[in-house]
């Protein structure tokens, strides 16, 4: 499980505290008003931001000081999830190892994963030759191939249309969740949370609240969240 132990993130005129536990497996949504620190929380878990206090544990191990690449964490950003100068299979290979040298078996693994995300035969394409939805799929394929247990989604599908976004969320739920990954997903749309996330963390007024069941939370939100949701 992921434990944020009295975590404190402080920047100029911004601070966020989190003291919570996310159980292994399943999708947990992070919702809250924009500017509230949802992405910053993910950045801290991924290791891009150093907390001013507190610790991050994964599976009992303290990973607070580890660099992002060594954290058993995969993260997808809003954009720039693929290197434009590398082909799809080279981009995917970087999920396996830090080199562009293909070893025996790599090609097969990549073909299988591409099959899973519906990109069969796209190996040699460059990202520029893919649509937005296909780029998301390729990035997701790299995460799947990497097989890291904790996956952070920082609104990677925000630029897609509503139908395509639902499709990608379902695909994540299908593929990542069945692989046994723990998924943290930032979203500003409560419907996304309702669609795939069993639990939801609310980030509000400088505090990331412990995960709660998504259904009851959205059905009867606390006052401040109700203001944000507008319902």
């Amino acid at each position: 499980m992921l434990t944020l132990d009295h975590l404190k993130l402080t920047f100029a005129n911004f601070s966020l505290s989190a003291d919570l536990v996310v159980p292994i497996g399943g999708i947990t949504a992070i919702v809250g008003p924009s500017g509230g620190g949802k992405s910053t929380l993910l950045s801290a878990i991924a290791g891009f931001v150093q907390p001013s206090a507190g610790r991050v544990f994964w599976d009992g191990a303290d990973i607070t000081q580890r660099p992002p690449g060594d954290r058993c964490v995969s993260i997808l950003f809003q954009d720039n999830n693929l290197f434009p100068h590398l082909s799809v299979s080279q981009n995917l290979l970087l999920g396996l190892r830090r080199s562009l040298r293909f070893e025996s078996g790599d090609e097969d693994k990549i073909a299988q994963i591409l099959d899973k995300v519906g990109l069969s035969g796209f190996q040699s394409r460059k990202p520029a030759a893919l649509s937005g939805g296909q780029q998301s799929r390729a990035a997701l394929a790299r995460v799947l191939l990497g097989g890291r247990p904790l996956v952070l989604l920082d609104e990677p599908f925000a630029a897609l249309g509503p139908a395509l976004r639902d499709e990608m969320l379902d695909l994540c739920a299908e593929t990542l969740a069945t692989q046994g990954c723990t998924i943290l997903m930032v979203t500003h749309d409560p419907r996304d949370a309702a669609r795939v996330a069993g639990q939801t963390i609310v980030v509000l007024d400088g505090v990331a609240h412990a995960p709660a069941e998504t259904g009851p939370l959205l059905a009867d939100p606390p006052d401040a969240l109700r203001t944000y949701l507008g319902g």
């Binding site: 100029a12 950045s43 660099p67 992002p68 690449g69 434009p84 100068h85 830090r98 562009l100």
Partner: protein, 510 residues
Amino acid sequence: MARSVVPVNGTLRWPGTIAVGLALVFLFGPLIAVLWRAEGLASLSRADLSAVWFTIWQAAVSAVVSIGLAIPVARALARRQFRGRQVLVTLLGAPFLLPVIVAILGLLAVFGRAGIVNSFLGALGLPDVSIYGAHGVIIAHVFFNLPLAVRLILQGWVAIPSERFRLAAGLNAPIWRVLERPMLASVVPGTFVVIFLICLTSFAVALTLGGGPRATTIELAIYQAFRLSFDLAGAATLTLVQIAICAVVALLAFAITALDAMGRGLDRVVARWDGSVWGDFAWITAAALFLLLPLVMVILRGLPSILELPSSVWVAALRSVMIAMVSAGLTVALALALALRGGWLVVVVGTLPLAFSGLVLGAGLFLIVFPFVNPSNVALPVTALVNSLMALPFVMRALVPSVAQVEAQYGQLADGLGLRGWARLRIVLLPRLRRPLGFSAGVAAALSMGDLGVITLFATGDRATLPLEMYRLMGAYQMQAAASSALVLLGLSLGLFWICDRGWRIDADA
């Protein structure tokens, strides 16, 4: 979003630290050698003092004339749209890559004894003008710096929002007083200092067109002390004076402004409702003629006998190409290492060479190697080294922002994938930096190819570079061969730039 992300620096830093060390050693080592040998300012002779005075005077006059002519030209370019405008603005950047000695040959063809201007004056029964001496130096400096001044001032003009011109026109307010004079007041001082600094350190112009008691610059005096009187102590003292003057002016330039002559966005024309169309086009035509005619003359005079060039010229050309390639490789490696490292030290190292001149560095290195080896034996490596140090500031200006941009876009992705150090360099940075790297290599190669500075101190006999060989031909009045060599040099300089700049772009994905 509060995205104040603390950078997790996965880029290689230690090569940059080594590069900082190397640059400092090669910049300050010669300086220390010079200090060691100099005999104190008291030993400056009358001739030395007049060289100091002439150096400052010609730089100031060159800067004033360049700017004075650049203002109407820049204004004309800012408010007129015509076919070929974009080409002309691009060409204004070309003198930066033009070998000085080639331009001088072109200027001689126009303003020299048998040149176009004098033939014209002779036909009218007017006395000849001579391009040798102080005004020759100034004409050449204006040739090189007028385009720079136009670009810098044009930037100021296109930076004025078009709404302001509309507002001024609507109010019938004097555009000059409310818009243009304030803009110039902020742009001109920086432009002046930059051109002043360039003219302070321009050696080849003084070498070819100057000389004599009334047109000797400090650098020319240093060269003469080395080559004619072999007065090493005197040369060291003059070098010290030159460094001191340049350091003061460079500090001034740094303080006044961070100018960027390579800036983009010069293709905007502001709609205006003032000024005479004919006056503007007269200025543009005159400037274009002044800049293009010498180059056209080089091509016209050089082309016919290009196949009859002596083999020594081709050998020198080969030597120059090799030096240029080594120098370009070294510059790009240093600049990339520095750009990856970042930090204030890198800013210092990237700016310092502006305060040195190639000749000054060469003088120091000469003093260092002279007791141990025959300087002429190390002429070529020293030239490559000095050329790459001198190109460093310009190359850094292109590379540092590009590295920052790649890191901003793909740094987190690379961090997340654990790409650090060499893997990050190979897989992420080098492929993404192909364009700026190619441009940098091109600039460094062209600058080195055309350099006629440090080599004049070191080379004897059969170790000449192409610019030096060309200078010798001019000195021997073999003007036909010199013109053809100039054409070869021009072609090689621009060719090297083109190959590097384009070659690295092929297949570079956006």
